[in-house]
Amino acid sequence: MSSTRWKKLWRDLQAARGRMIMMVAAIAVSIFGVGAITSAYTILMREVSRNYLGTNPASAYIELERVDDVLVESVKAQPNIAEAEATSWVMARVEVSPNEWRPLLLFVIPDFNALRLNTFKSEEGAFPPQEQTILLERLALPMTNAKVGDAINVQTPNGQKQSIVISGLVHDPGLAPAWQEQMVYGYITPSTLAWLGESDTLQILKVKIKDGSSNQAAIESAVSDLAAWLKSQGHTVEEIRIPPPNMHPHQSQMNSILFMLLIFILMALVLSAILTATMIGGLLAQQIRQIGIMKAIGARSSQITSLYLVMIAALGLIAVILGVPFGVAVGRGFASVVGELLNFTIYSNAIPAWVYVVELLMGVLIPLLVALNPILKTTRTTVRETLNYYGTTRETVASRGLVSWVAKLRGVDNTLLMALRNTFRRRGRLILTLSLLAAAGAMFITGLNVKTGWETYLTDAASYRHYDLELRFNAPQSEAQINSILATIPEVQKVEAWNLNPAALVRPDGLDIVRTYPDGGHGSFSLRSMPPESKMMEAPLMTGRTLQPDDVDTVVLNQMSAAFFPNAKVGDTIQLTVNGQTATFKLVGIIKQILTPATAYVTPSTFAATTGQPAPMTNAVRIVLSQHDAQTISAASGAIESALAAQKISTKVSITETMLEGATSGHVYIFIYSLILISAVMAVVGVLGLMSSMSTSVIERTREFGIMRAIGAKSQTILRNVISEGIFIGLMSWITAVPLSLPLSWGVDYLVGMLSFRAALPLILSPLAVFGWLLLVLLGAVFASFYPARQASRLTIRETLAYV
């Protein structure tokens, strides 16, 4: 800072300390936002695959009547197979409080220490589990209301209720978190399974293919070769499961979150650029006369330009230094929250160097880029123009019209009129400030709109289900018998058969390939019988019609299953493989069903004809109770269970409404957190922008205020004048933000909805968001204009008139 012009720059920075701090804060806030999001993004992307791929997930799961060591060894010797292993999955249930059961998915592991595919790690206690004990997934433990060392009651389809000790915990990142799925995951040995009352024969062959293990088509062809070989060896292939390769069950959910965050990053970038432009505009407005003087005494435009560019780069650098650590901290925090929600262990918090480079470039380059044009424009104006600059432009006809219209209103005093007129004086800056605030407001409102849309979607999903319990039986039962047993339970009001059978897409090789994860929920496809004119399920028709009682071989798909037939229209025929047979249906309608896996609905008679399960039998029923509160449901399900057990009918799962709600709300949290975080950043940026614009306008008019006060205006009047102007700008931005939020919300609703449910979220203008933002923007406006106004009203008249 030896040379005088740098000294001048430094002193100017000090003199305008408040504004400089604001500018640094504004850039720092957006750097923070972008930094938080990119940090979280890079950490999550890396850790998801590290966690999921770290388990070495199998490419496919083949269900056979029996998988023994000899078979495993000979499968390993097959040309395309890299690894093979035997396992079994048993859907059992666990009693979490007297008579309240939750589904328990048992993974049967022959040798815990030699596990190669779908691995998991010991977290606590025994590993491998002692005989007749069980290991639980770490997130499943709290759902059992037990501790490690406690015994829990477990019942398998063919066994009795059995008490078993939890001997340890494992972390299995390959599964969707237990609490989200409302399913307990347990790990046992085959002999423990036998002790629980099931056969110890393993039935699932897990295989990993050699090449192209991330390529769905390669996997399918390798697996189909393997299946053909298995058949040639005399094995019966019951079912083949190929989950989406190398994708965590919640990968698409996370992708949609990250995608949405990415959209907002881009918007935040635009905002920060607008904000920087506003601030630099203000800075130049304040300095324009001095620029004129410097040029009059011999400064070249390039000298002045570089002076300001260096200053802006320095401010940007300070902002980066301040913003980056916060962004990194919050990004890491966010990643760890998401990691916890998705049951990942974040092995490393490291953020790749390019993130820092991007932040540095953004913090320094964006302000420089947006500043370049106004700086060049200012430094290139003739000296005469700069010396004559008073910071105002002529009123436009429109603004004059508005002002005179307001003047006609009763009770509008002169202060307000002056405020209004001031607002329109600098049209360019007004537009900039307005767009900044409106954009921030629109994003804030959009964030909350999407949140409301999401929640509405979920409550709709719940409100479309008009039943309290669903029972699935281990084997088909006589419907009449079930009805008569259930009739003895006083709370049961209505029972309907909703039979269920797994289905698969038809393949030329005739294999039953379903796209499911081991937990069976994600990506599964089932065929269900729907009693025509049932009142238990309501689903908005997207196209076509609903099922009619006399329909034969017709099908109604929900949007998840329709996605498997991208070209099918109502009236077309579609084919499904059910129990190894190809069945052909006429598509009559598509319904929208939220949080329901891919399902094809048919009439009971069509179901019987397709599956071969005789019509008087049923394997799943839905029940409406007299009361719908959690207590009644729990009591009734206990009573139903014991009544059925007395008749030796064992149920596989019973799903209650509360469990579904628990499962679904889990998916929402991450969205809500991220939207709120982003909205908050936007709100801060918006208010900072208004503040900078207000202080610029006040600084420009300092001399004018001096004159006003010299001719008798009170400081109070000036304060009120400026604050009215701020509020006025805030109101105008609010009026712009609300309609702007609609297309934005629509777009985000569409993207997020399509990515997570294959159906757009409903567009809802949240009143809370609209009025919440109004309140925020008004408070922000008062806050933003109070500070500069007070500064101006505190200067003595002599000082204001001497203002250059």
């Binding site: 009059a296 005494i297 011999g298 005469r384 010396l387």
Partner: protein, 242 residues
């Protein structure tokens, strides 16, 4: 060494009878209703070492005229030659450098930079134009302040000075790069008659030393200081163009 080059300049200036020459200069401003012609085909000359007053009614075009000489504004048509430099042909960058070295400008409202001390304000033009070695700049600034009689104010901020002192500082700043020509627009307009006399003495002394001074003024009782008076009316020179 410096003094030698200054002397050479002066010799050169003496030889050049027409240090400042305006040929057929027209200046038109764009205004709401079309164009307003503020200077109408003005021809004028100023010789080296002259102390010229530009007078005329308010709005007659005085400021516009001297802005042509300093290059603060450019003519719509016509030629402006200052020390044989075609000012009207220079672009902004060239103008800035040229003005910094050849013309010292003094404004009515002093226009010192508020965040720099008086001394620093005077060093600034040397800094921009790189005219004197950095080590010598402070000493030169102090010498100039002494010359205008406010050396003891060197370390104060402009806002702490009286109007007369600020104008002296502004004159010292105009002299910073040792220009041949000083141009001032109503430099005494904001000063009382006693102070304005002192400031005029200063200009007269500078003219006597060989500087060429062109000054806009309203005040009649200052005519005794000038070697010539150019009178403007409605954008035309009505007397004193030579």
């Amino acid at each position: 060494m410096e003094t030698k080059s200054v002397k050479q300049n002066q010799v050169q200036a003496k030889n050049e009878a027409r240090l400042i020459e305006l040929r057929n200069v027209v200046k038109a401003y764009d205004v709401a209703g079309g164009k307003f012609v503020a200077l109408k085909n003005v021809d004028m000359q100023v010789g080296a070492g002259e102390f010229v007053a530009v007078v005329g009614k308010s709005g007659s075009g005085k400021s516009t005229l001297i802005n042509m000489i300093t290059g603060i504004d450019n003519p719509t048509s016509g030629e402006v030659l200052v020390a044989a430099t075609p000012v009207h042909e220079l672009d902004h960058e060239q103008l800035a450098v040229w003005r910094g070295k050849n013309v010292g400008v003094v404004f009515q409202f002093f226009q010192l930079l508020p965040t720099l001390t008086v001394m620093e304000n005077i060093v600034l033009p040397m800094d921009f134009c790189g005219t004197f070695p950095a080590r010598e700049r402070n000493a030169r600034a102090l010498a100039l302040l002494e010359k205008v009689g406010i050396a003891e104010q060197a370390d104060k901020l402009p806002s702490d000075l009286s109007g007369g002192q600020q104008q002296r500082a502004a004159i010292a700043r105009a002299l910073a790069n040792d220009p041949q020509i000083l141009v001032a627009d109503e430099p005494t307009g904001n000063l009382d008659s006693h102070t304005s006399d002192a400031v005029m003495q200063l200009f007269a002394g500078l003219a006597a030393e060989g500087k060429t001074v062109v000054m806009v003024t309203h005040e009649r009782d200052l005519t005794r200081f000038f070697t010539r008076t150019i009178t403007l009316a409605d954008g035309e020179i009505v007397a004193g163009a030579k």
